[in-house]
């Protein structure tokens, strides 16, 4: 069984400030890791993914995440946020083998304050 924990349900941050959205996971097998974003009134969009290789992954819109196997974390970061980054962010995992279903966290709402 797998689980994903996003401890912060809401994160307010001022425009142009850095942000980190935390994600920890639990799994008995190796996993792929994802961050999805949902902008207001839109569907889920893949922000970035870690499948293998370098543990620092760069995604769209200036976001990046670092996979830390020992801490079972996959935190999302951006050095300077914009108003347009206001959205809900979901961390997710999928096991390497077997089916491709994804297990999501409860989401973190990022509110960028002007």
């Amino acid at each position: 069984a797998q689980s994903v924990t996003q401890l912060d349900s809401q994160v307010p941050v001022f425009e142009e400030a850095p942000v980190e959205l935390r994600c920890n996971y639990s799994s008995s097998v190796s996993v792929y890791l994802f961050w999805y974003v949902q902008y207001p009134n839109q569907g889920l969009q893949l922000l970035l993914k870690y499948l293998s290789g370098s543990t620092l992954v760069k995604g769209i819109n200036g976001f990046e995440a670092e996979f830390n196997k020992s801490q079972t974390s996959f935190h999302l970061r951006k050095p300077s946020v914009h108003i347009s980054d206001t959205a809900e962010y979901f961390c997710a995992v999928s096991s390497l083998g077997g089916y491709q279903k994804v297990t999501f966290g409860t989401g973190t709402k990022l509110q960028v304050i002007p």
């Binding site: 792929y32 009134n41 569907g43 979901f90 089916y99 491709q100 994804v102 999501f104 409860t106």
Partner: protein, 113 residues
């Protein structure tokens, strides 16, 4: 290229009624998934089709939910009869064979009153 399309975007029905949600995946995507998000909670897996076959339906809540994917193209998710706890946003996603990146639709917001 068109993305994953879901119909309707919103649906409000009374308890006991039937509702059918539709998902049109990206052309060529054999994998199709249904997920649901109940308000304030995580997005949960419902089931997975590979072409027209159900590969995994372990997340289906009960037998009031019926998913089909005739001909391996679009999929429908029927809820009959709907209950209050079925309210939420239903997401559909699709992916290419062997690929881990799934593309999601905008979701259908279902409200049962």
């Amino acid at each position: 290229e068109a993305g994953v399309t879901q119909f309707p975007s919103h649906s409000v029905i009374e308890k006991g009624q039937t509702v059918t949600l539709r998902c049109d995946p990206i052309s060529g995507h054999d994998n199709l998934y249904w997920y649901r998000r109940v308000m304030g909670k995580e997005i949960k897996f419902l089931l997975h089709f590979v072409k027209e076959s159900k590969q995994d339906e372990s997340g289906m809540p009960n037998n009031r939910f019926l998913a089909e994917r005739t001909g391996g193209t679009y999929s429908t998710l029927k809820v009959q009869p709907a209950e209050l706890e079925d309210s939420g946003v239903y997401f559909c996603a699709s992916s290419q064979p062997g690929r881990r990146e799934a593309f999601f639709g905008q979701g259908t917001r279902l409200t049962v009153v």
